[in-house]
Subunit: 327 residues, 2 copies
């Protein structure tokens, strides 16, 4: 159930750039005009810029960065569950930690979004730096009724969905198997998938996504490896991005659950930054040079050793051989 | 670090049935005699029966059911981690829920033990009835560095370790694949394994075990299917059982991590209540009659359909065809 405040901002969004009277809002929502006025004042405090004229009513003219973006993300979103509920935080320890806390009680597709993470998580206990207003940090709760051995594909599914969304925006992105997105040879986004399961039954999966959207100074040791879209001269509005991403993600996710991975695998293979290249397979610190040959139907990487021996890489990391760049 | 109270009860257990002076305890532990006396009084309140004689000191003569059993379980336990820490609760929602809460901060092998569970969990969201003093309810935290696809074997490993322990006690137990123990055709114990993982990396596994040890009235609808050891005339002391179980479990677990599953598979195959029988394979409510042929090296059940087709059963349930009994 949406709150009255959320219903009011939705009406204002629907009527953007024209006035709508307090009376018509009050009639539509069956609340008092005083209540409408109170909510409008609260929305203004949150950062929505609303003009009010005595005889004409209210008009939404803009928003500041502090405004809660969740109303605009989920309003008239073209999905049946993905992103239909967005829990927004200005700052939080980690969107994955928060999503874990609420997962059992939340519907599939619930999203936790934050402006800043104080304990952003990377893979295998690493940190993912998530300063305020430098990126888009969010986690999605999934509850697929699939076998445990299908679960690792979820990371690939999210990589494909993100890539499709960037391509829709005309941005040439590629995928560094298994969980990084690459723009112009540098990392711009990462995916961290966590799972809670009985040994043969998935309870829920949390997909955490971090995208470097805004201007950002990278430390010396990673500035050759990482970038942000703003640093590359690309402006992306996070609300518009999410409203395009959720339908793409839901579509590929539904197909995956129905057993159809074709579109997903097409994207993974055609947009791979790894395939057809010599890469280092790094496991427990040991580097072995291999040739990345294919991605199989389970999303595993097929590599060929110098001896000609072919190996399926399920886990661990792949690092790409390159003299001047991250890949 | 053990508490002074725990060190004192350990000294009393080491010197069971003889007196030990307050002075020698105080010297050994480098605490005041007043402190020794205070802890002895607390142990008495908890249910330990301690005799004190003016010139001779203290003697442990027994314990009531209310005494905290964790001191006796872990004291001089012949393992390097399994059961070395036991968190004991008279009553708790579920030992698995509690173990989940403490898992990240707790060493491998930590055990949560309770006299009673108010929300005992069975598989796939079912309830496991866990009344006070009717059974042994505990959960163990594991942190194996194994691939995700190896994880389902953990349930089999626990089933084998429990079975070995019962056999050591001369009790003829068998295993209803994948997670129930059977005595005289009825269920006496169940295993619920849960996991928290990144998509390619296990964070921790919680193994919950419930054993019907004590006298218990089963409801009409399950009394042909379930029993307790006491109902069958077998007395088992839960402390002694756990002190035998943990070394067996640690031994098989260490071998499993080193890639040696032979002993485990021997037990699973030789003590199976399923192999060599016609059983119903039940999945999503659909029953198919199959012949249970083998357990493979991953712990999966190999069944043969009436058509002769052979299938590997990874998940779901197996129910055993039987006219008069649970198996």
């Amino acid at each position: 159930m949406k709150s009255t405040k959320e219903k009011i901002i939705n009406i204002l969004i629907d009527n953007k750039d024209k006035y709508i009277s307090g009376e018509s809002i009050s009639e539509k929502l069956e609340v008092s005009r005083a209540s409408v006025w109170k909510h409008i004042k609260n929305l203004e405090k949150e950062g929505y810029q609303i003009e009010s004229k005595t005889s004409q009513g209210y008009k939404l003219i803009g928003r500041t960065d502090t405004a809660n973006p969740s109303y605009e993300i989920s309003h008239r979103l073209k999905t049946s569950f993905m992103g239909q509920r967005v829990d927004y935080f200005k700052t939080i320890d980690s969107t994955n930690i928060q999503a874990n806390k609420i997962a059992s009680q939340s519907p599939e597709g619930t999203v936790v979004l934050a402006d800043e993470q104080t304990k952003g998580k990377g893979r295998i206990g690493r940190t993912w730096v998530s300063e305020q207003n430098k990126g888009l940090y969010f986690s999605t709760i999934l509850k697929p009724d699939i076998a445990l051995m299908q679960a690792p594909f979820i990371t690939q599914l999210v990589a494909a969905s993100l890539t499709k969304t960037f391509l829709d925006l005309g941005i040439e992105i590629s995928i560094k198997w298994p969980n990084d997105l690459i723009y112009k040879g540098k990392k711009v986004a990462g995916i961290l998938t966590e799972m809670s399961a009985e040994i043969d039954h998935i309870s829920y999966i949390i997909v955490g996504i971090g995208i470097n959207l805004y201007k950002k100074d990278f430390e010396d040791e990673i500035k050759d490896k990482a970038t942000s879209f703003a640093n590359e001269g690309i402006e992306i509005d996070r609300i518009e991005f999410l409203r395009k991403f959720f339908p793409n993600f839901e579509d590929l996710y539904e197909k995956f659950k129905a057993g159809d991975k074709r579109e997903c695998l097409d994207i993974l293979r055609s947009r791979s930054a790894v395939l057809g290249r010599e890469v280092y397979k790094i496991k427990e610190g040991e580097r072995v040079k291999v040739f990345a040959r294919d991605i199989d139907d389970m999303g595993n990487l097929i590599v060929e050793h110098e001896s000609g021996q072919v190996e399926t890489v399920f886990t661990g990391e792949i690092s790409i051989r390159g003299l001047d760049s991250y890949i």
